[in-house]
Symmetry: C2
Subunit: 301 residues, 2 copies
């Protein structure tokens, strides 16, 4: 029996919306798919324009020390991507090439560089907020390709994908209120795209047994909400938006302080651009010109 | 004495066009800088629109085997970025976290994944061209973030940057003629942007002593041309466009064949989007609204 996610993936390949590679979760994108993503990206920007956030864009490489400091290795070691390079001499190079030619592992010739792949767009932002915030805090609009080491045949679970986030750093009450407001804003975006979806209490995929406790605590405190939509499987919806209240986690780790000197709280709302695009194709069909008129209007064509 | 490239970098930081990180060659981008890049990107697309190329876009991760097969490890091992991940159990995880906390190298806990970082946008394309080409060959418009392991304080030498390329795969005479034509097209783009630049015969930065021979041979055969422009240093111009004729190199490695069964030849023209943007700021000033009227018109505002 063919899994439903194979059906979606094959349909996307057949119509050349995505281009296959031999690696699960790594795809090329057609001009049309990319255009759809860019239009969703603009919607996510516009939803925050009234707040005049600072806009930051990043390549998907991040200071290794930021990932360490952010506690990512404790919580999500299995998802992280570390960039390693060759810094040897000609002799070491001959060994490397020899190993590669014989199909042996040539990675012992490499050493870790100063960068890792970006795990989430907002990880670029927290280090830049270090210090004292202005009285009303700071709001940032950030977009970046991200990497998650989770090879899958489910096309909605890519290893590299774009995440467009809005980040708030402020006093606790403001961060909480900001996220509440974004639940409505995010629902409105999803509703204007006529995507069948619902808000659920969720947890991050923490590693190992201690991780299960962290996940339970996160759920109990409703720290992570997701908007989930059926994409590849009707009965197993996928998160397309994630709304997170981090309490003082990042404020403490990166020494972000409110104007009165307290540790700042942070919250973020992340939109998975490829997943929203896939939800549109999956729910409205592969002929973009036949999507419902209000959806086409929302996307600007 | 402050190097000239420090002057440019500091000016870009001060005006928040680029955002500094602690890693050399890794920067955030402001909304304005990103908008400038996107406008250059569109120019590069439009210059090929008459050919109706296939359009492909990629995340900057590529099948490890394609990088091996393309000979990149032989020629440019020092520039490659390999993605490694953790696939251990809870005990291995405790060791990893302990090492990271104590500032020790935790990379032995990792193993190579199936992907590397993309060294050049066109590397995504050659594997997809495997097989027999249509009678007139194939033309592809491809854009991707790319990685080069060359940390530098020269802001025009980033570790991650966007490369927009046009690729031709065809019979030899057509590939040669295609590149000749692109010399003119690329010069026209640069000239419309009023960037002071010139075409030079160049060579790739091949590794080691055998690499010096390869570079000399590449120069002798004029296989690589570059359009170079002063960006950070008036007397040491930087390549902003690269025009390459690969002969049968990729055709042979990826079994790309012409309609009559011969090994196809390939050529590519790559535009360094960040570098072109930096050349604009460096040569026309940091107030984008004061750039020469024809340049603003070319960029569409």
């Amino acid at each position: 029996m063919v899994a439903l996610h194979d059906t979606l993936r094959d349909a996307l390949f057949e119509r050349k919306l995505l281009l296959p590679t031999a690696v699960a979760g790594i795809y090329g994108r057609s001009a049309e798919f990319e255009d759809t993503i860019e239009r969703i990206d603009r919607l996510v920007s516009v939803a925050a324009a009234v707040d005049a956030p600072e806009v930051m864009r990043f390549a998907p490489a991040i200071d290794r020390r930021h990932v360490e400091r952010a506690g990512y290795l404790e919580s999500f070691p299995h998802l992280a991507g570390s960039v390693h390079s060759f810094a040897g001499d000609e002799r070491a190079h001959r060994d490397l090439v020899g190993a590669a030619r014989e199909g042996r592992d040539w990675s012992p010739a490499l050493s870790p560089t100063g960068v890792m792949l970006t795990p989430a767009a907002c990880y670029h932002v927290y280090p830049l907020l270090a210090g004292t915030l202005p009285p009303r805090g700071r709001l940032v609009d950030v977009m970046s390709y991200c990497f998650r080491r989770e090879p899958s045949d489910d096309v909605s679970r890519m290893q590299m994908f774009r995440m467009h986030e809005h980040v708030c750093a402020s006093a606790p009450a403001e961060a909480v209120a900001w996220r509440e407001d974004w639940i409505d804003r995010a629902r409105r975006i999803v509703s204007r795209l006529a995507i069948e979806a619902r808000v659920v209490v969720a947890a991050d995929p923490f590693f190992g047994r201690p991780g299960a406790l962290l996940a339970a605590s996160q759920r109990d405190q409703r720290l992570k909400l997701e908007i989930v939509a059926p994409i590849a499987c009707a009965d197993r919806p996928t998160a397309i938006v994630s709304l997170n209240y981090h309490q003082d986690h990042f404020g403490r780790l990166f020494d972000i302080r409110t104007a009165d000197g307290a540790i700042a709280h942070t919250a973020c709302t992340g939109f998975g651009l490829e997943r929203i695009g896939l939800a549109l194709y999956s729910q409205h069909g592969f002929e973009r010109s036949r999507w419902p008129a209000p959806v086409r209007e929302t996307l600007g064509w």
